[in-house]
């Protein structure tokens, strides 16, 4: 009997996992329109000259996301002029964590002089479409005739604390490869990050 209950438990938790599945490498992304910290709406289609996008789920409070803030700005600085802008989305819910509010996002963006959009995703709609599970979580997209195709999913690099002597910069490598018409050699990576703070109830 005990074992039966345990099995039922596992099945339920298995289902809970299955429903959070999102895009995989090769999938075409549905465009979105989300409010930026400057109160203007941003959609991928707004970037007429883009060759692709670096979509990053990041937030105000996660220590791992904070450690990457400057690297995210640097990515945009390097790659926006080359046609691959950073589009950052905060997947967290402010009723679950008050410091994730839109006002706090605005404060952070101005304090850190974010040179990229930092978008609010009310009710996690876009977060769930992508299947983002943590912050930071990156999706590199390539603009094609079919639409925006996911070419890389995972971490920015393998060095969150800037202490790894064998650093590999996954996102940079992926975008560099895409920009010369190649597929990224490493198309997905794993990373420890902060779980998304989902709306309660």
């Amino acid at each position: 009997m005990k074992r039966l209950i345990l099995m039922a438990f596992m099945l339920i938790s298995g289902f809970a996992f299955a429903q959070t599945e999102g895009y995989k490498v090769g999938d075409v992304v549905k465009d979105f329109s989300l409010k930026n910290v400057n109160n203007k709406m941003v959609a991928l289609a707004d970037y007429k000259d883009a060759k692709g996008y670096i979509v990053i789920f990041t937030c105000n409070t996660c220590p791992v996301a904070k450690a990457y803030q400057e690297r995210i700005s640097a990515l945009n600085e390097t790659y926006a002029p080359k046609g691959y802008p950073v589009v950052a989305i905060n997947p967290n819910d402010a009723t679950a964590v008050p410091d994730e509010s839109f006002q706090k996002m605005q404060a952070l963006a101005s304090e850190k002089k974010f040179n990229f959009p930092y978008l609010l995703d009310p009710n996690h709609v876009v977060t769930k479409q992508f299947g983002a599970t943590r912050t930071p979580h990156v999706f590199v997209l390539n603009k094609t005739d079919k639409g925006n195709v996911v070419e890389y999913i995972g971490a920015i690099d393998n060095d969150p604390e800037e202490a790894n002597s064998t650093k590999v910069e996954y996102v940079k490598n992926a975008v560099n490869e895409l920009s010369i018409g190649k597929k990224p050699a490493i198309a997905s990576t794993k990373a420890v990050g902060c779980g998304i703070k989902w709306k309660k109830g």
């Binding site: 604390e161 990576t189 794993k190 902060c194």
Partner: protein
């Protein structure tokens, strides 16, 4: 007299830091291999991970319920190494955690995530139940009952 003070001082700092040891995966593997009939319940957590912090008391209950059995609860923090003194040790002291606490000392998470379990996405909390005969990995939160049952059913 001065020497006495120095000894006292270093003893105090030793005690304060001794609570959380740095851990390499090789050391963990060695410990499991030398563990004879011991089952290790290894929880991966971090001070910044709220569901992890919420389930820590369940691991303490599991530890207390198995004091006389060959079961060891190890709490392995994935906090940044630079946060050891400022955040991890104060957290362990403040929450009076009595299980063995470590901070994972591996620079490349790509490598260590794969090494701990191929199916692991890197999300925490995650828990490994391991002894010489069995190895089960779960990327999920555990209730007290689930912990008890999972340990009980481990073959």
């Amino acid at each position: 007299m001065r020497l006495f003070f120095i000894i006292c001082l270093s003893l105090i700092t030793y005690c304060a830091t001794a609570q959380v040891k740095l851990l390499k995966l090789d050391e963990l593997d060695k410990r499991i291999a030398n563990g004879k009939d011991t089952t290790y319940v290894i929880n991966f957590w971090a001070t910044w991970c709220s569901p992890c912090v919420a389930e820590l008391p369940n691991f303490e209950k599991l530890r207390l319920a198995n004091l006389k059995k060959p079961v060891k609860v190890l709490l392995v923090s994935l906090d940044f190494k630079s946060k050891l003194q400022k955040e991890v040790i104060p957290f362990v002291q403040h929450n009076k955690i009595n299980a063995e606490v470590f901070l994972l000392n591996e620079p490349d998470q790509q490598q260590y995530i794969e090494r701990i379990d191929k199916k692991w996405s890197g999300a925490i909390p995650a828990t490994l139940f391991v002894n010489k005969k069995a190895r089960r990995f779960y990327e999920k939160e555990f209730t007290e009952t689930e912990l008890k049952n999972t340990l009980f059913n481990l073959k």
